[in-house]
């Protein structure tokens, strides 16, 4: 499966290898007790999972673009967005390098109401 459609990362083996600790940490947020631990001391929580320094910084900065670039798969990092919470469109806008409004009303073409 060639990884060559423009601007389109596919979750192939190499991404999975690099992102594994990050995705595993994010998956653990499906359990309420882990969400509480994350909120109580985020850095200590991340340290349990062996993220790289870059991955850790990306999570703590909520840098969605970096998280995906560093092997995070969207469906797992979505569970990090549940913590604050942050809408999925903000994650999309960050990756597209656009403002939220430009992303939603421009790229997605959502119609503004009232």
């Amino acid at each position: 499966m060639s990884d060559q459609i423009p601007e389109t990362p596919l979750f192939v083996r190499s991404h999975g290898d690099i992102g594994y600790p990050l995705n595993k940490m994010a998956m653990s947020l499906c359990q309420a007790e882990n969400r509480e631990a994350f909120k109580a001391d985020e850095e200590a929580f991340l340290d349990r999972y062996g993220l790289s320094a870059d991955q850790k910084r990306a999570v703590m900065d909520r840098d969605w673009e970096a998280m995906v670039r560093l092997g995070g798969n969207l469906f797992f990092i979505l569970k990090i967005s549940a913590i604050d919470p942050v809408p999925i469109t903000a994650i999309g806008a960050a990756q597209a390098g656009m403002s939220h409004d430009d992303f939603v009303y421009g790229r997605l073409g959502k119609v503004r109401h009232g």
Binding site: K24, L29, A32, R107, L108
Partner: protein, 282 residues
């Protein structure tokens, strides 16, 4: 024998479920989307299936990346809504059509499929949202379910042709199921969307509308597209549309398209649905 009463296709975008949870169904943002499903809900209420076979992808909830099943089938008596990070949604548990599930698993293995057979598993929005879209939010679901989980998250994902062939085995399983069960098939996911990379937010309204127009009368081209074609045309996450081919493959060659509906964007997705019946259905 059991009767295949129809095949439906629908998006399963999680924001749809969130909109229902928050009472946003009739807001200007959402009303045109939900109203479009009313004919399908009426169809479902009129046709009274006993079993809904739902083909969807788990979104990193029931399965992690440590062990990714290409194809999994539920054989349980009960499936609960899973905690996806926001706590489990307040939808009723689903009752499983476990006898038919096991019959289907036997047919799968005999016909050279290699399912992960799941006696204990919970279900995420990929199954919940289609059920809510077609059955509303009852106190108890009026059907039993058979969940079919397809990997569309980690490469390699299955081929479109494989999904079609899975539909053919599902059809044979229904035909060899010697009961009066009325069975409906829900192919779910899509339509176009891309959630990752700089092309995030990609939609292809033209291709989506063509899909809804053509999946009934001319599905062959979709069966023979490559996985790369799906990614390019429908976006990386839109490739999950291959799951509708399970439903379409189980139907007759000639079907009637009774209802279709399209609305974009629903969150970051081109959303919509279709209702198909076999042309020679009584």
């Amino acid at each position: 024998m059991a009767e295949l009463i129809g095949g439906l296709g629908t998006s399963h975008v999680p924001s749809i479920g969130v909109a229902l949870d928050r009472g946003l169904r009739d807001t200007p943002d959402w009303k045109p989307f939900f109203d479009g499903y009313i004919p399908a809900q009426k169809w479902m209420a009129d046709h009274k299936p006993d079993i809904a076979v739902v083909i969807f992808n788990d979104h990193g909830n029931a399965f992690f990346l440590d062990r990714v099943p290409t194809l999994a089938v539920g054989v349980a008596d009960r499936y609960k809504p899973i905690d996806e990070g926001w706590g489990p949604r307040a939808v009723p548990d689903f009752e499983g059509a476990s006898a038919f599930s096991w019959h289907f698993v036997d047919q799968l293995v005999e016909n050279h499929f290699d399912p992960l057979v799941c006696r204990e598993i919970d279900v995420d929005h990929g199954l919940q949202v289609p059920m809510e879209l077609f059955f509303g939010r009852p106190d108890a679901w009026p059907v039993k379910i058979v969940p079919i989980f397809v990997n569309t998250i980690q490469y390699p994902i299955p081929t479109p042709q494989r999904m079609w062939d899975l539909g053919r085995v599902l059809r044979r399983s229904i035909e060899s199921w010697l009961t009066d069960d009325r069975i409906v098939i829900l192919g779910t996911g899509g339509l176009s969307h891309q959630l990752q990379g700089t092309r995030a937010g990609f939609l292809n309204r033209e291709a989506d509308r063509a899909w809804l127009d053509e999946i009934g009368p001319n599905p062959e081209k979709y069966r023979s597209m490559s996985r790369e074609d799906y990614v390019e045309t429908f976006g990386s996450e839109g490739a999950e549309l291959i799951m509708w081919l399970v439903m379409r493959g189980a139907m007759d060659a000639r079907v009637k398209t009774l209802h279709k509906h399209y609305f974009a964007p629903a969150s970051m997705t081109g959303a919509g649905m279709i209702v198909l019946e076999n042309e020679d259905a009584a």
